[in-house]
Amino acid sequence: MSTSRKALWSVCLSASLACDDNPPPAPPSVAMGDTLVVGVGQDARDLLAPLAQSAFDLALLDLLGTRPLDVHFDCELSYVPGFAKEWTWSEDGRTLDLVLRDDLAWSDGTPVRARDLVLLGELIRDPAVGSPRAANLAQLTPGSPEAVDDTHVRYTFEARGQPTIMAANVGLLQLVPSHLLDDPALERKGLRTHPLNTTAPVSSGYWQLASWEKGKTLVFEPNPHHPGPAPGLARVVFRVLPDYDTRLLELRSGRIDMMEAVQIVDADKLVAEQPDIKLRTRGYRAQDYIGWNNVDPAAYQAAAAGGERPDVATLPRHPLFGDPAVRHALSMAIDVDRIIADVLTSQATGKAYAVRAVSTITPELCATRDAGITPIGFDVEAAKVALARAGWSDTNGDGVVDKGGVPFRFTMIMPTGSARRVQVSTIVQGQLAAVGVDVQIEALDPGALFERLRRRDFDAAYTGWSAGLWVEPSSAWGKDSDFNFTSYQDAEVQALLEAGSREPDPTKAAEIWRKFQRRIYDDQPYTFLYWMDEIVAVDGRFDNTDVNLVSPWSHLERWTVAPDKVKYRE
């Protein structure tokens, strides 16, 4: 039987079961609790699993959908049952079998079946769709995943790898409603304009989208067809308030209940003046760094003019930052501890909301982080000596070190829109001036900044990364990655990168990643600055709140409000 006929058979079977033998479960009674109003800076964009890309879209999909695997993070990523109630790996580590629940239904009452996962795979792998998740399934064999039966899906991988990462790639994707999308007439290229993506997604999770007023509000209400316990809240509303100050004012006036990324100075005021608002922290997922371009930007762009990616190993080094000794000296001249104390520490409580960074792997990954790396200490005199050894000294007494008549002067680009970055860049500018390095700061719109980074059209860049929950450093450091902005290349690092990605044993992989981090830190392609602990504010009437590294609103179905504290009654 061909795949398409199998699919058709599966759909017909599902439909007939839905109509005759296995009617959808009766809607459970919904506890009419309170309403949570979340202030967010942006609207959703894509709410169909193969197309969702932004962190906000993916977080909303977690409300709407049920993933095969749910995640738990405590020093490392682990899995708990989601749509899959069991999962097993084959002995050769290449096949993952999921046994699916049979009691889930879409919000229109149609049962959730294995075909919903298989179609998800087909859509993600279809180039016409243009799915941002295509890399997740790139390691699968052709024809995978396959539905063994209605409650059994099999993923076959081309090669063995780390099971945690392999499972994450396939198990953390949300489902698609095959009964609405499994249509040969559906033009997959136009999937982004499908109403299921733009206006009216169906849900297999605890929540369903009740209304979506573009640019204004998204209202979620409990999905009456979900078999789990009814959510403790009657409604979750996301209000789009693009301006940070407006969100904060609305929080303080009680017109929103929750907002992310509260600035430290505002957190101090909230603690002092509004104890009814509780502050939570999410953990270290975001870092800032200063990237030093390793290759000559002009040479790179000349080589890239033909459209091909240049081989950076053949390009001349950057005249200022091509020498690791110089990069090391610059890191010595930047007092990261003082930056953390001045900018990222509460002046009211003394609590620091940041720790020093030594790599792009978050310190939350306990087994992989390298606690043995000693951060480079701040030492102006040693930095001057190191620069002098590298040939940079102030020969003309103008306060700027020079070499061969060329002053050590460069422009550091950074994104606009962050008060923190304005403060930190100014501090860095002053600290580097103390060792005779003249820095000009150029703030760019994030889109323009990204283009400059992508074209390697910069000297230094003060920007940041958001870390994943598992180790996947090839984006930042892979020699062919678009995101290896500094064009850093080192044979040992590349070998460790490949070995770490292939190693199935987590303990051995962690050891490889620790060597990997040490090697990069020795070379200082970045001056690693700090990991930040994001502050989330939540109104105190909510109980069982779960703000964590995975999501600012994990398991919203468990959030409750005591009856005497309910604010919005029907």
């Binding site: 769709v129 941002p132 790139a138 204004k216 209202v219 509303v237 303080r252 017109r255 990204f450």
Partner: protein, 323 residues
Amino acid sequence: MPPLPSLGRWALGRVLRAVGLVGAVLLVTWCLVEALPGDACSARLDPDLDPKAFAAIRAALGCDAPALTRLSADLARVISLDLGVSTSRHVPVRSLLAQALPASLVLGGAGLAIGQGLGWASALVQAPRRGTALDVGVGAVTVLFASVPGFALALALLHGALAFDPTWPATGTSTPWLVPTFAERLQAMLLPAVALGLGAAALDARVARSALVGALTQDHIRAARARGVGESRLLWRHAVPNALLPAVALLGLQLPALVSGAVVVETIFAWPGMGRLLVDAVHAADAPVVLGVFYAYAVVVVAGGVFADLAAVLLDPRIRLAT
């Protein structure tokens, strides 16, 4: 002296020029969007994205088509009033404009009304008392409001209102899942409309005062005063009609602000109008929406100009159609 054209021929000429102007605005806008770093696809590039997936996204969103192909397709869509589909929100641009334009028109209209009302009120207080302390005082206040940036005024109003009444629906109702009442809609509109109106009022007041002072010093007014005509009648029957002309010209220039002048205020008050739509579209490099918004702007600006010219002709027959 050449013969004057008829009103119909004059109007036709203005409309044709207006169409050409709108076309030129669109072409320039397209070139500016094209010159921006990145495009709708690069706005979606993130470190988790596989290069092959990115190439597929570029193909799916049409980013890899040659510039001339995209230009001709975009202009063809504009001519057919299709305007295309948003590359960030994936819905027809027309539907986005249909939602945002009324919101901006209502807010801008209210702001314009507040501006005109306050401006004329202060001008009517100042002009008959030219040179007095009251004139100078009101003038200083108008200069102050004209000097304060829109975002500062909006934030000050927002802070002030929420300090006064924390439940004030400054950015929309606090129960957005319920259909707002008319009173709630008015409340939600009040602060952004005042923020827009105060800035406009300052300019309106200065122009209206200047026109009124000019009218009040004309010979026929002095003659009327000598004949014993009361000051109130002089002001309302003789000076105000004569002062309307420059005010109407200014109104014509302010009409585009109905849709274009509220970018900052709409963002701060989370008002879902054209300004917000444009800001979001620029951040997402959403060329069809940017073009659509500028298309609407251009039509309103040009129509505002035509309206002002026509109003001037109707108000003052001395203005010749030959202009």
